[in-house]
């Protein structure tokens, strides 16, 4: 089988609700989507999702005519090709998207779901709920985590960082909502790099007087291994980071310097091949990884095969407008079906409708860093979030 061509489709989605964190607590509801189709001479098409649209052209020559089953060797070829300029930015996004689509093809050629191609024993991944919820009212917050708890999910990750008193109240709301799934729900927080390391230590230690936290995510900047290690040493919770680093080479200093306890992984980290490298290096160091949220939870296919995966983030804000998928959440686990590859099909008609009539709505992902980050806290202004009345 040979790769013969590719096609990129880009579109805009309006999610079912707003999503927001410390950097933009008011949230956004618009999300750009992109789909890469890799075509073959035997009619099979590999697909992937992400933001790699623009730069695929620069790498496609390296895989044109190649057998998609040789995906890891093709990854090495693309990575070597990017030697001088670096596997960074748009090039990294394109490499990631191509690698994902190649893995989708490899599994489809074998007629099996990707988790099986990757050697997993079962297509089943423990889930935790993540509300991306700074923009939700207290009532909406409870409703989200209660809905997740009704699916058996017993862990939650709250967006925090701007208002300690409100964060503590909302942690309690999240815990209460999840308590129907477990008498001791797993609680996590995420401040999305809004704090300095020392701000993080002060803030988290005050939270830990009231709650046991499993992990604190991005309590300092993504590359700051001194800062992240300092937080890890001074709080009881684990430190999680890595979602904004995109290669094994970028993650290595965090591992080597004992700066993180959990590494967030996803396909934007140089594809399935690249994120698996990160997971394997973490595994060698006795560290766990956690898969990021994904449209239709497609990344659970990969998480199922990682030896050191703890649980995967489930967000569920409504991003599946033109997707059909073969998985479900049951008893707190993402259960993958037998559909080949990622198990995702594209509803081409819906896609064309979205492209022909782009929806409109508030804001657009991704959003910038908030004022004061790393120096001083700017709490939500009255009316900026529903839980801070105007």
């Amino acid at each position: 089988m040979k790769i013969t061509g590719y096609r990129v489709e880009q579109y805009l989605m309006k999610m079912d609700r707003l999503v927001g964190d410390a950097n933009l607590p008011s949230g956004v509801e618009m999300l750009p989507g992109s789909i890469l189709y890799l075509e073959t001479d035997e009619g099979l098409t590999g697909i992937s999702f992400g933001y790699g649209g623009g730069a695929v052209e620069g790498l496609f020559g390296l895989i044109e005519g190649a057998d998609p089953r040789e995906v890891v060797a093709l990854w090495i070829r693309m990575n070597d090709f990017l030697h001088k300029a670096g596997n960074e930015g748009a090039a990294c996004a394109a490499l990631s998207a191509i690698d994902m689509a190649l893995w989708d093809l490899k599994a489809k050629i074998a007629g099996e779901p990707l988790w099986k191609t990757l050697g997993a024993k079962e297509g089943r991944v423990k889930a935790y709920a993540s509300g991306l919820d700074y923009c939700l009212s207290d009532e909406e917050l409870f409703a989200f985590y209660r809905r997740m708890a009704e699916l058996g999910i017993d862990g939650g990750k709250l967006k925090v960082g701007l208002d300690l008193k409100a964060d503590l109240r909302r942690l309690g709301i999240m815990r209460d909502a999840l308590s129907i799934a477990s008498p001791r729900p797993v609680l996590m927080i995420d401040s999305n790099e809004y704090w300095s390391p020392k701000q993080a230590v002060r803030y988290i230690r005050r939270m830990e007087q009231h709650f046991e936290l499993r992990w604190v995510e991005e309590p300092a900047r993504r590359w700051d291994y001194h800062g992240l290690r300092l937080v890890s040493q001074q709080v009881a919770a684990k430190v999680a980071s890595g979602e904004n680093l995109h290669t094994l080479a970028d993650v290595y200093p965090l591992i080597a310097n004992q700066a993180v306890d959990v590494i967030n992984v996803w396909t934007g980290q140089s594809g399935v091949t690249g994120l698996r490298q990160i997971a394997h290096m973490a595994h060698a160091h006795g560290l766990q990884v956690s898969m990021m949220n994904a449209q239709a939870n497609y990344m659970a296919q990969i998480a199922a095969a990682l030896p050191n995966h703890n649980m995967m983030e489930v967000v569920d804000p409504g991003r599946e407008h033109c997707l059909r998928w073969d998985n479900r959440i049951e008893d707190g686990y993402i259960v993958l079906g037998d559909a080949p590859g990622f198990g995702i099909e594209i509803d081409e008609q819906k896609l064309r409708e979205l492209q022909a009539h782009p929806p409109t709505g508030r804001g657009k992902f991704p959003f910038p860093r908030r004022e004061g980050a790393g120096r001083y806290i700017v709490p939500p202004a009255p009316g900026e979030v529903p839980w801070r009345r105007g």
Binding site: R69, A73, G119, K121, H285, A305
Partner: protein, 345 residues
């Protein structure tokens, strides 16, 4: 597809296709499935009992395509007690037989199932495990250089100093048939302390450009091996015989290994892939120690920082099995037959 059982041949003495301490006796492990496919692996004969037990306890009924998950389960089941060498080899050979089945189920060679390109793996000749006198040593490396184009050689050292130098020169001179600058490696077979090794290697390095030294001191002495690495020009190579990813950790933390050696006879293919990714994080070159039938050549194309594979026998001289791997012009080339290419005679 489901595993239905295993057949293990009796102890066989004929083959000499096994590496180093794998000893002269081996057995062939054959995993059978309800699809009629058979997965093959070759191991030290000591694994016969644990292989049967592992298959009965954990493999029967499992889908071999889930090989990485099965490997993890076999490893986790041993984690309460550190698995002994025999048990490690049993898990490793089953992992190889499972990968053989996974590739056969896909009607493709193992290298392709792993995601690799057709491998042409940089290979070197290793006289480790062979008891060769001076003349035999020269003749053996000469054959490796002339018939197979091998440009590198590994020699066991550690006896008396002048003998080591004399034999190193014989190896170098023989390999010079293939290249003006042969790649020289030595294995001290754990016969030296760190300070002794520094002393001896420094003396050798006045005469020879050594690519790496392995088998110094204790494998777990990361501090000592770092001390050695800091004191000599050549690389310190660590990992032969390691059976768990955890054994590599102190060497990754202390950077006491300059080259990571992976032994698929003890850590399996699944473990080898994990270690190779971890090594890539530090950009440490990965070399694969010898394997029966040179099936380790299949892994070369899928390791991002692959360096070389060890060849003890370019062709299995035994009549027990054939291998699809050929050594041509210094490169190991894996074939296109489904699976790992091992075929029983």
């Amino acid at each position: 597809m489901k595993i239905t059982g295993v057949k293990v041949t009796r102890r066989m003495h004929e083959t000499n296709a096994l590496a180093g301490r794998l000893a002269e006796s081996c057995c062939i492990v054959m995993l059978s499935t309800d699809a009629g496919l058979t997965g093959i692996g070759i191991a030290d004969a000591g694994v016969r009992a644990p292989v049967r037990r592992l298959v009965a306890d954990m493999l029967v009924g499992a889908d071999p395509r889930s090989v990485t998950g099965i490997w993890q389960r076999m490893m986790d089941a041993q984690s309460a007690s550190h698995p002994g060498k025999v048990l490690s080899r049993a898990i490793a050979v089953l992992d190889q037989a499972l990968w053989d089945l996974k590739a056969k189920a896909n009607h493709e060679p193992l290298w392709k199932s792993l995601g690799g390109a057709p491998p042409t793996a940089n290979a070197y000749a290793s006289s480790i495990g062979l008891s060769l006198g001076d003349e035999e040593l020269s003749a053996w490396f000469l054959r490796m250089a002339r018939d197979h184009g091998l440009r590198g050689g590994k020699l066991r050292v550690g006896t008396e100093e002048s003998g080591d130098a004399r034999r190193l020169e014989r190896m170098r001179a023989a390999l010079a048939e293939a290249t003006p600058e042969p790649v020289l490696m030595i294995d001290a077979d754990h016969g030296w302390s760190v300070k002794q090794a520094i002393d001896r290697v420094r003396a050798m390095e006045q005469q020879f450009d050594l690519t790496w030294i392995e088998g110094v001191s204790r494998d777990r002495d990361a501090r000592g091996l770092k001390q050695l690495s800091d004191a000599i020009c050549g690389a310190v190579c660590v990992g032969k015989g390691f059976a768990t990813i955890g054994e590599f950790l102190p060497h990754l933390q202390r950077r006491s290994a300059d080259v990571i050696q992976i032994d698929i006879n003890t850590i399996g293919i699944t473990g080898a892939l994990q270690v190779a990714d971890a090594a890539f994080g530090l950009e440490l070159p990965v070399t694969l120690s010898a394997a029966p039938g040179n099936v380790h050549a299949h892994l070369a194309g899928v390791m991002p920082y692959f360096m070389s594979i060890e060849i003890v026998d370019p062709e299995p001289v035994t009549r027990l099995f054939t291998s699809g791997v050929r050594i041509v012009d210094g490169w190991a080339v894996a074939g296109d037959a489904p699976g790992n290419g091992l075929v029983l005679s």
